[in-house]
Symmetry: C2
Subunit: 354 residues, 2 copies
DNA sequence: TTCCGTACAGAGAACGATTTCTACCGTCCG
DNA sequence: CGGACGGTAGAAATCGTTCTCTGTACGGAA
């Protein structure tokens, strides 16, 4: 009819294929699905027609009829965050293995956009919506998340919290965490075991931010376990950026604070610390030991290579997808973290007894 | 009817909203679209029903009826590639600004998967399919790409080649490139202008790979322009990895090849070079100058900070989306590259005349 | 020979939204 | 006073699949 038909620029439909093969649309659909007996000859004719018309099914129509959208949404703050790429890799790989597509959305930490994104995913009938990255803590935020979880559940999709704490008992959400506090505990213990007693903590210190809260908790618990009294002055609040690492280190040196080691809450912070220490003529690890957290790719490139805590990023992503698609399995999992020892730590020098 | 209806766990449809508001489905649709006069009272009733039922439209049904899917697909080799995250950021940002969703797919360099992905995107009615990263060169591959471009065009979506050369005149594809050869030319010229005459090239050397071909071309053109005869022994073929950078540098040192500078075809290669040179006791830039390409985040963290070529990654992604959605504009654009000078280059020492 | 089961194919009703095309009701103007 | 018109609203077709009914034909068993 239309001009489109004439020059063949309209995409082919089952009906077109059916006409070309001299069968009914139903038969074409059955050949495609392969779940219903179709005579060999008929099947061949249909398949040839499909090839000749270069037919591909219309995913929307299929979903509309009752199929699954096969989409997994991956929601994060910022694609360029150093470890997010690895979580994304895990998500993407697992999604592909399971025959799903992967949608990616960023929020820039804006709760409004987070809401908008989740709504968009409800419209799209996404099978799972994976929220990644340390979120805020607090009753208001928690309630909001619970509402999202329920709304998604009602729309037939699943909310997955990746690297965030659970919302509560009967909330329909999947949680994939890593042992944040344990990693901080382990690496602080390592420093303490090397004789360090005055260990600076550099990073975000916010009670309503899960990541920083847990890292500090592990840091303090290690002190307790070693029976080391902790000097509150050694916690220098800031954020998780390299710039802060540089600034804080300068302040520390200028103030003449006594310390033998620095626990940077993030490898990025640690990078800033190393840079500034070197510029100030302090040798690492001879004069000061430094550790980070996250084991981002950069960690092996800074000088000296950084002793840090490894997060199972890729596995985190894979697990998120895997669990979301298997409602029967446990919907809460905590993956382990472990420290990786490189060159930025040395035992504290025994006091001079000369 | 079903159990789902009873406990309200089925998602609401226009019909449900219509019933709740005491109007027809058509009216609900019109309130949603807002493009048709609806009496104020009626509109209010409908909106209240929408809120109460927590209604969201079914994207699939909407697309099926003739709307656009609003999806942009982003296809790359591997999400964890150092510069891809920035292209992805550009794509995602622009897509969001234009009210589109962003689908991400990886191919791991497998042409089969590339095909599968494009087919999937045809099924999804994606508005644009952005292929990013240096592809292969060659007639067979080119023909395959042309077929993909036409297939997508027929399905109403647009193929975008991002960082790859054009396919030819009347192929329905958008091309967003950066001046690969120009960057290589500029940075080699920089080394030559600093007096370097024996400059090693380390990286992939494959005639059928666009990126390496152009980088070598720029490297050679600079030599020509400076009237410096180029010693073919200075080209050490390999790949684009850090491991190769380390291996090649060791070989170079072991062989006793004379050189004063190294042009690593990639910052990752350069990172390996720096590492190995330091381990071997060669100082950079005092003994050897080193440059890279790509300006990945790592470049400022290696020691010494790397002089390299900046690729407008983020803008590349934004342009890809922008052009794909504006058929009226020119569908081929070449973005500029420029060198960024840091600390890894020094003029060659004048020959000792003692 | 009759009957039934099986293999195969088509007709037609969904799915949920949009969008014609119609239709109604006042009101205004001739 | 009658017809036209603007403002609203609904009925029904439509998008491309899938899937449930029906229905036919053929082969074998009774």
């Amino acid at each position: 009819m239309s001009a489109e038909d004439v020059n063949g620029r309209r995409r082919a439909t089952v009906k077109d294929v059916a006409v070309a093969a001299g069968v009914s649309p139903a038969t074409v659909s059955r050949v495609l699905a392969g779940d219903y007996p179709v005579a060999t000859g008929t099947k061949a004719r249909v398949q040839r027609a499909i090839r000749e018309l270069d037919y591909v099914a219309n995913a929307q129509a299929r979903v509309l009829k009752g199929g699954s959208s096969g989409m997994i949404a991956f929601v994060l703050d910022d694609v360029t965050g150093p470890s997010f790429a690895y979580v994304a890799k895990g998500v993407e790989q697992q999604a592909t293995e399971e025959g799903r597509l992967c949608i990616i959305c960023t929020t820039h930490g804006d709760p409004e956009r987070e809401l908008a994104v989740v709504d968009a995913m409800r419209e799209q009938h996404a099978e799972a919506v994976i929220l990644v990255g340390g979120g805020l803590v607090g009753e208001e935020y928690r309630q909001r998340m619970i509402r999202l979880a329920r709304a998604l559940d009602k729309a037939g999709s699943r909310l997955v919290l990746c690297g965030r704490p659970p919302l509560g008992e009967d909330v329909p959400a999947t949680v994939v965490e890593y042992d944040n506090e344990g990693g901080a505990f382990a690496i602080t213990s390592f420093l303490l075991s090397q004789g360090h007693r005055r260990i600076v903590y550099l990073g975000k210190v916010a009670d309503n931010h899960t990541t920083s809260r847990e890292r500090i908790a592990g840091y303090l618990r290690a002190h307790e376990l070693f029976g080391v009294e902790h000097d509150p002055a050694l916690i220098v609040p800031g954020d998780f950026t390299q710039a802060y690492g540089e600034r804080a280190t300068r302040q520390l040196l200028a103030a003449g604070t006594a310390f033998t080691a620095i626990f940077a809450a993030t490898d990025m912070v640690a990078a800033g610390v190393l840079r500034t220490l070197r510029a100030a003529g302090r040798r690492v690890p001879e004069d000061v030991s430094v550790v980070g957290y996250d084991d981002i790719p950069l960690a092996i490139h800074v000088v000296p290579a950084l002793t840090t805590v490894r997060i199972p990023t890729e596995e985190l992503g894979r697990a998120a997808v895997r669990l979301a698609l298997r409602p029967a399995e446990s919907q809460h999992v905590v993956l382990g973290t472990h420290i990786v020892v490189r060159e930025s730590v040395r035992p504290v020098a025994p006091p001079n007894r000369g």
